[in-house]
Amino acid sequence: MMAKLCINNNIRQLRFHHNEMTQQALADVIGVSRQTVIAIESAKYSPSLEVAFKISAVFKVPLEAVFIYEP
């Protein structure tokens, strides 16, 4: 099994607090596939800065509120 990345995230909680936004809805807004949102949420993939900023813009929170660096 591949090791998890050092960058964790709160996307699942943020989705929940935004009218239980679905993974597909988030994926459509930020322009990636639902599988990519699943991979980001489960810390199996670190998104590009562009996608990271798009996610934070969707939830209207700063980037640090979405992604947490855990070395």
Partner: protein, 152 residues
């Protein structure tokens, strides 16, 4: 976790590669030594393999696109592009190694440094190239499916 269109397509590509490999080997192993040395027979097999692979890939992609019509026209996102890039990196290496082995084999044959091998398997460099291509395709699919599943 559901499979994406890209991942399903890779599974189909991998299965098609295996079918083409089996077909190619079946054809070659069914020939006697005089047929193996006949260039028209070998070219005919190669032509059939190419046509067979194009038809197989087209039909499988069309079926997949009909089932997943929503995702079929979507461009690759950044994660899928990265996975494709990593898969092609390794498959390119396998193909390069295959080409080098085929050239080395041809050089050995033409300089009569490998006399026995040439008599046993005519057009060996050609077969090495075809097998290297099929192996590189197969491994590319395996690597990409693994990256889709385990993370990139």
């Amino acid at each position: 976790m559901n499979s994406s269109f890209q991942e399903k397509n890779l599974w189909l590509e991998m299965m098609a590669t295996v079918v083409i490999f089996v077909y190619y080997m079946e054809q070659l192993l069914g020939f006697n030594s005089s047929q193996l040395a006949d260039s028209t027979v070998i070219i005919n097999v190669l032509f059939k393999v190419v046509m067979f692979s194009v038809i197989l890939m087209s039909i499988s992609f069309a079926i997949l696109a009909i089932i997943n019509y929503k995702d079929a026209n979507k461009p690759l996102d950044e994660r899928e592009s990265l996975i494709e890039l990593k898969g092609s990196y390794y498959s390119n290496w396998i193909l390069k190694v295959g080409v080098v082995i085929a050239i080395a084999q041809y050089a050995l044959e033409s300089n009569a440094w490998a006399i026995g091998l040439h008599q046993n398997i005519p057009f060996l460099p050609l077969h090495i190239l075809v097998l290297a291509f099929l192996l590189s395709e197969f491994l590319s699919c395996i690597i990409q499916i693994r990256l889709f599943r385990k993370g990139v």
